[in-house]
Amino acid sequence: MSAESPVAHQFEDATQQREAATLGMWVFLATEVLFFGAMFLGYTVYRLKYPEVFRLASEHTIIVIGTINTGILLLSSFTMVLAVRAAEYKRRLALITFLCITALFGIAFLVLKGFEYTQEIHEGLFPGSHFQFTEADPYTARMFFYLYFLMTGVHALHVTIGVIMLGIFALRAMLTLKLERLSTAVDLLGLYWHFVDIVWVFLFPLIYLVDRHS
């Protein structure tokens, strides 16, 4: 951090301030780990109880979209890292560019996910009053789709918040005169974005890749 960086009065120097901010972000991410963890636990319990129904239900998700979306999120993490680096070296144009590219990847993810949701709702797989599933006990299959829409929905909400934040940060990067004020904040947004990527890394095999071989 450069000397002209503003340090709040409770901190000794800019390094300590930055470390405190990073630590705070990790505390938030730990609560997020437990928040998503509870849903993963629910999934595990039902999957262990009804493995065959989960396999049949999983075949109805669109694996091509799931795989492309995983690739999109991995690429977006790469561009996010480049944005954090650009902020660190105070390269304004690179920062704005990489923030926008990351946001566009996020939007692409959401559009593809929305397309998949539409297909599935059209097939009657949304666990509402029009739910229909003929290959297995519909009440059990409903549980898979309940967990599927809940977990991917909450994840998509996180992506949406991330995209909005990326947009706000791109605007701030355009308007601010002191770019060093933005560096720590971009770093923290990066941590959030990578965390959302990690959640998807675990969701992808559990939802799309349930014993595809049989």
Partner: protein, 89 residues
């Protein structure tokens, strides 16, 4: 200015792991399919945490907070599953 080469290599590794995990799902490994998929996901997550989230170069306090977050998750999964897996109908 440090090089972006490590980031490019990690991204490449993540894509290799993505291809492996999708291919592995179409191979019949019996009961091992899901554990293998979870192991690959764990490797991907570790790469992201260590390199992209800069935990590799963070101070020990950050390391403790990261580990504690996952440790609590471990408690939740272990205690709950030890109940569900040992229940008699």
């Amino acid at each position: 200015m440090n090089s972006i080469k490590p980031y490019v290599m990690v991204t490449g590794a993540l894509f290799v792991l993505l291809v492996i995990t999708v291919s592995a799902a179409y191979v019949n490994l019996g009961a091992l399919n899901t554990p293998v998929a979870m192991l690959i996901s764990l490797s991907k997550a570790s790469l992201i945490v260590l390199f992209f989230m800069h935990v590799r170069h963070s101070n020990p306090l950050i390391h403790i907070f990261v580990l504690v977050g996952f440790f609590w998750l471990g408690i939740m999964l272990t205690l709950s599953l030890s109940d569900f897996l040992t229940r008699h109908p």
